[in-house]
């Protein structure tokens, strides 16, 4: 209980809320790194997942590559990228972007592929060209599951962006690492708590966003609301 009191005192200390080592600065740094990584992952992963889902081909390859990507250790990638790119934000961005890609690819592929084939048929039967089928029929229906994939990626990235501190970067990982070096357990706990809170906040924000972008027509649809986490594809 004494320890908890010390942690609360840490948060109440105004010195920890100002300056280049203060909580607002660190949170901003953390969100900045995470945001760029998720953004880069979306630019790479969304077109791939959606296109493959639309054509219904190459999905097995995409998903397997994705799964292998999930096994890559972010810490290892960080160190290798540091050797290549040096002491700046690029190594962290590389590691985090690679972390964010698999859930987005998998979810967007499954989401587009699993749109009811009868709907696709009907659209084509009405004379819609492929691009209209994709943008006006498939994507709106696939949106909830795609958003779930983005949400998963975002939360994972925010939780893992603490790695930046390992190569003298900023963000909330700084409190954890510096606290370990200075044997300041209160600082370590405060840093960990902040990361957890931030990850939860991101989860809630994206859940809200999911609700907003889901078309009203399929909101009551159980498939639309089953979009939680990442869908594990059946390979056999």
């Amino acid at each position: 209980m004494v320890f908890l009191g010390q942690v609360i005192a840490w948060f109440l200390n105004p010195a920890h809320w100002t300056g280049s080592h203060g909580v607002p600065t660190r949170v901003l740094e953390h969100l900045q790194i995470s945001g760029i990584a998720v953004g880069a992952a979306l630019v790479i992963a969304l077109p791939i997942g959606i296109a493959l889902g639309h054509w219904g081909r190459g999905g097995l390859l995409a998903i397997n590559v994705s799964n292998v990507g999930r096994a890559l250790p972010s810490f290892g990638i960080l160190v290798i990228a540091f050797e290549v790119f040096g002491l700046n934000n690029t190594p962290v961005l590389v590691a985090l972007t690679l972390l964010a890609i698999p859930p987005v690819v998998t979810n967007s592929f499954i989401a587009v592929r699993d749109v009811d084939p009868e709907l696709r048929d009907a659209a084509r039967g009405m004379g819609m060209r492929e691009r209209r089928v994709l943008f006006e029929v498939e994507l709106p229906l696939a949106l909830p599951l795609i958003m779930a994939g983005i949400r998963t990626a975002a939360v994972q990235v925010v939780a893992t962006a603490t790695l930046a501190a390992l190569i003298a970067g900023g963000g909330l990982g700084r409190y954890i690492l510096d606290g370990l070096g200075q044997r300041d357990d209160v600082q370590v706990f405060a840093g960990a708590a902040l990361v957890a809170l931030l990850a939860m906040a991101v989860e809630l924000a994206f859940s809200g966003l999911e609700q907003i972008v889901t078309p009203r027509g399929i909101k009551g649809n159980p498939v639309g609301r089953m979009a939680v986490g990442v869908v594990e594809p059946r390979l056999f």
């Binding site: 002491l87 190569i167 003298a168 690492l177 510096d178 606290g179 370990l180 070096g181 200075q182």
Partner: protein
């Protein structure tokens, strides 16, 4: 579907055996013909400490002891409590910094290694440990800038920092912000108030990258480093003697100490000197020679092993 299950079974076995082989240790060490104790040796998170830990450890292994090594355990904030709680038995300390750590910065360390070690022992006895004879080998904190920075601010000694520190960023390991021989010391002894502090590592690759790349203007290095000249760094002179007698000193728990260990360690400490440290650090830092190898070579050259 039967063939699938069999394939899955094979894959699992393959995966598990890969993991198991990766976990396997490489035997090695002397044959246990005697029943000497097993000791746990630890070192700080920089290569010189690993080399020293290996030197003292391998000398005992040659006498039939079994040593568990925990290299790069962490900063002193991690290592000293581990010794006090008995989780490790030994670490290679530095007399002045260890004294100022355990006495919580009272300022009792001097430039005299014998007196400093004696004072250190008065505190160590309370946690069941002892520092043996200090070595002539010295490795103190030092502060380096690039040649360009030295020219820009006309820096040759630490006293030159006071007027310009407000424009400079200091880099060092995270604990530098709270250690008397680091940032607080620079402030109290030299009046140097830096613009900002950037946490890097303990005189490792991050420190060198940040100093050479300009992310910090001045960084903590160790006086026994072997690559400072080749990187174009200028070490500023400690003219007001902030840094004290940081001689290498073996610190060991009294419970595991015996006359044989005392005798061997004191002989090793006497044979070590700063030139040796610098040469080994250079090999480790620039030529990337394994600390293990460097330790074994040193012991052989000085007749502790055959």
């Amino acid at each position: 579907m039967r063939s699938f299950k069999f394939q899955a079974f094979l894959m699992t076995i393959l995966g598990l055996s890969l993991i198991a082989s990766a976990c396997g240790t490489s035997g090695g060490g002397s044959p246990s013909t005697t029943t000497k104790e097993t000791l746990t040796f630890a070192g700080f998170n920089f290569s010189e400490s690993t080399i020293l830990m290996d030197i003292y450890g391998k000398a005992l292994e040659a006498k039939g002891y079994k040593i568990n090594y925990k290299a790069n355990l962490g900063s002193r904030e991690v290592v000293e409590p581990a010794l006090a709680s008995g989780q490790i038995d030994f670490y290679p300390g530095y007399a002045a910094t260890d004294l100022e750590f355990i006495n919580k910065g009272k300022g009792e360390a001097t430039g005299d290694p014998q007196a400093t070690t004696a004072k250190l022992n008065t505190y160590l006895s309370a946690i069941g440990a002892k520092a043996l004879d200090p070595s002539p080998a010295l490795d103190a904190n030092a502060f380096a800038v690039t040649k360009a920075t030295a020219a820009k601010y006309s820096l040759t000694k630490l006293s030159d920092l006071a007027p310009v520190a407000g424009r400079m960023v200091l880099g060092g390991p995270p604990e530098c912000a709270t250690r008397p021989y680091c940032q607080p010391g620079l402030k109290s002894v030299y009046g140097a108030n830096f613009k900002d502090f950037k946490a890097l590592d303990a005189d490792g690759p991050l420190t060198r990258a940040a100093l050479s790349g300009g992310q910090v203007d001045i960084a903590l290095v160790f006086s026994s480093d072997g690559d400072l000249d080749s990187r174009g760094y200028v070490v500023l002179d400690d003219d007001k003697h902030l840094e004290a007698a940081d001689n290498v000193v073996p610190i060991i728990r009294t419970k595991v100490l015996n006359s044989e260990i005392t005798s061997i360690f004191n002989k090793i400490s006497a044979a070590l000197n700063t030139t040796d440290l610098r040469a080994m650090n250079k090999s480790a830092g620039i030529d990337h020679v394994d600390p293990d190898t460097l330790a074994a070579t040193w012991l052989k050259q000085h007749g502790f092993t055959s």
